[in-house]
């Protein structure tokens, strides 16, 4: 079974530029998550989708971050314009459904450096 795929793995951009990350979850997984992991910290949920609908985006900085999950499968996370403090690993994860105690499966992450 293929895992959660993410691309690009690494990206370096200048501040005020834009960047987009792509995620393909495990086949059949209805719930998709984007997490931000700053060095030395635990993952912080940015947005959670159930199929193609948003169920939680309370911690997403909506003035610069956007995400979509068209057709309830792949997802894209965009940052525009980027700030230095956006340097982090962006983790995509998926789970079979939005249920209590569900195990979530992570991708390898997209490492962003903003200079």
């Amino acid at each position: 079974e293929a895992g959660v795929a993410q691309s690009p793995r690494y990206k370096i951009i200048e501040k005020r530029q834009s960047v987009a990350f792509w995620c393909n979850p495990i086949s059949g997984h209805a719930t998709l998550y984007w997490y931000q992991q700053i060095l030395g910290q635990g993952p912080k949920l940015l947005i959670q989708f159930q199929n193609n609908g948003v169920v939680d985006d309370s911690q997403l900085p909506k003035d610069r971050f956007s995400a979509e999950r068209l057709k309830g499968v792949d997802s894209t996370l965009k940052i525009q314009p980027a700030k230095l403090e956006d340097s982090a690993v962006y983790l995509c994860a998926s789970s079979l459904r939005r249920a209590w105690g569900n195990t979530i499966y992570f991708g390898e992450g997209s490492w962003l450096t903003v200079v």
């Binding site: 910290q41 635990g42 195990t103 390898e108």
Partner: protein, 113 residues
């Protein structure tokens, strides 16, 4: 609000020895799940072990076991017979009725040869 606290930023253990990683949490929910995830250097995070709060019996997965103290809101991870491949960041996490996972700040474990 849910919180998860890991008070040990770094730990080390000799190969074949036993180590315990600490985690405390706070939640207003009556039922919830607790997890330990492992994140090896530059590799993806994977589930190590999970515990359902309404089960009193501590979860065990091969060399990994937990000590779940519900009243104290403590959830520690014990790794027995430590191996070099156990070197990683370990994150404690909780999951409750809001369907939101809350992660701690992690403990960096280094297994020494």
């Amino acid at each position: 609000a849910q919180t998860v606290t890991q008070s040990q930023p770094e730990m080390s253990v000799q190969e074949a020895e036993t180590v315990t990683l600490s985690c405390t949490y706070d939640t207003s929910e009556n039922n919830y799940y607790l997890f330990w995830y492992k994140q090896p250097p530059s590799r993806q995070m994977i589930l190590v072990i999970r515990q359902e709060a309404y089960k009193q019996q501590n979860a065990t997965e091969n060399r990994f076991s937990v000590n779940f103290q519900k009243a104290a809101k403590s959830f520690s991870l014990k790794i027995s017979d430590s191996q070099l491949g156990d070197t990683a960041m370990y994150f404690c996490a909780s999951h409750s009725g809001t369907y939101k996972y809350i992660f701690g700040t992690g403990t960096r474990l280094k297994v020494l040869a």
